[in-house]
Subunit: 211 residues, 2 copies
């Protein structure tokens, strides 16, 4: 469709600017409430002395998420889509005057909570990272395949709740790898901290690789 082609061109222009400044950009996606902002809070705590992080927050309404991130002492910009269910290249470009990309190592774009549409729109990212909460059930890869297909990384979050839900980690892993054999899977809990170190080291490697 024309909309996606036009968006691809803008995303490509965004990417050129990110590459000139050697900023690694990730597009963070999930269902509503899977833990995107909580993961970012934990990542900033763990990494802010090593790398310079900036965050673009995407939500339909409110500035709560950007406030949570700004409270961690890193630059955060809130986009309110006023109804659109995903971020696109234009919305991201409109925030560029609020950042000094020459000073950033990592820019994380937290997309609108939606397991469908965000996976279709590039924003200029190096790669997509998705989160699945174990509380959503283990049938999500088969039922919402595009997001799993497009993501480079799958964080399976809230594993502290596994004793209380019907969810098989094995089935998630099997079904996700069927859809995307290259996807890298990190089981984590943003509440207890379990599994986060492996993800942070992986991310730090990628950031250094772009420098």
């Amino acid at each position: 469709r024309d909309i996606l082609e036009a968006n691809d061109r803008i995303a490509e222009q965004n990417r050129e600017i990110f590459n000139q400044n050697r900023v690694l950009v990730i597009n963070l996606m999930s269902s509503p409430g899977a833990g995107k902002t909580t993961l970012l809070e934990k990542a900033i705590d763990a990494l802010k002395n090593d790398i310079h992080i900036g965050v673009i927050e995407g939500d339909i309404e409110t500035t709560r998420d950007a406030e949570r991130i700004a409270a961690k002492g890193v630059p955060a910009v809130q986009i309110n889509t006023k109804g659109a269910c995903h971020l696109d290249g234009n919305m991201i470009r409109d925030t560029f005057n609020e950042f000094n990309f020459a000073e950033l190592d990592l820019l994380v774009v937290e997309n609108v909570g939606n397991l469908v549409c965000p996976a279709e729109f590039k924003i200029g990212e190096d790669f997509k990272v998705m989160i699945l909460s174990v509380t959503e059930g283990d049938d999500k890869p088969g039922k919402y395949p595009l997001m799993f297909h497009e993501s480079k990384v799958l964080l399976v979050n809230k594993i502290d709740l596994l004793p209380y839900v019907d969810c098989s980690m094995e089935k998630i892993r099997e079904d996700a790898l069927k859809i995307n054999p290259e996807i890298v899977i990190f089981p984590v809990s943003c509440k207890t901290g379990e599994g986060l170190d492996a993800w942070f080291s992986w991310l730090k490697e990628k950031v250094k690789g772009k420098k």
Copy 2:
């Protein structure tokens, strides 16, 4: 926009057919994995001796949800949207030859898991029912307002998990009522059964009212 207007006309035609057959139709929506299908399984167990129930399942891919419902012995039709993030009036009309509406009292349409787009498209329903899982957090009414505004009923599900998550039922209630003062709220657990009777009685009343 033209798409929504065209859809409204088809939804209106659907509604006339439902009304001629005195079938109560609800449009059931939530984020992915909030518990729509599990709630339906419990509702069928509780109500199938009193009322005749039919189900239309909407998913991007797979027939899992319709299989779960058919296993309960009620007619279930699966729609695969192949990418579309919501159901619309046309998709619902295309299933009409699979049902005998004269025999049905209640038709539940389980929409695609998405807290945004489904709220914009009428399908011919009498009203919308939404589910919010406590695991998604208590900031969702403010962040995803349209769904709360459009729904007649809000089921707050998975309350068995409240001891393990940071979620205030009070804040959900307060914020939802700010957005939609008429919304009827039922705290429930599809796992333990807590709170379900009140919702089933309320629903039975509405079904009888349409006869």
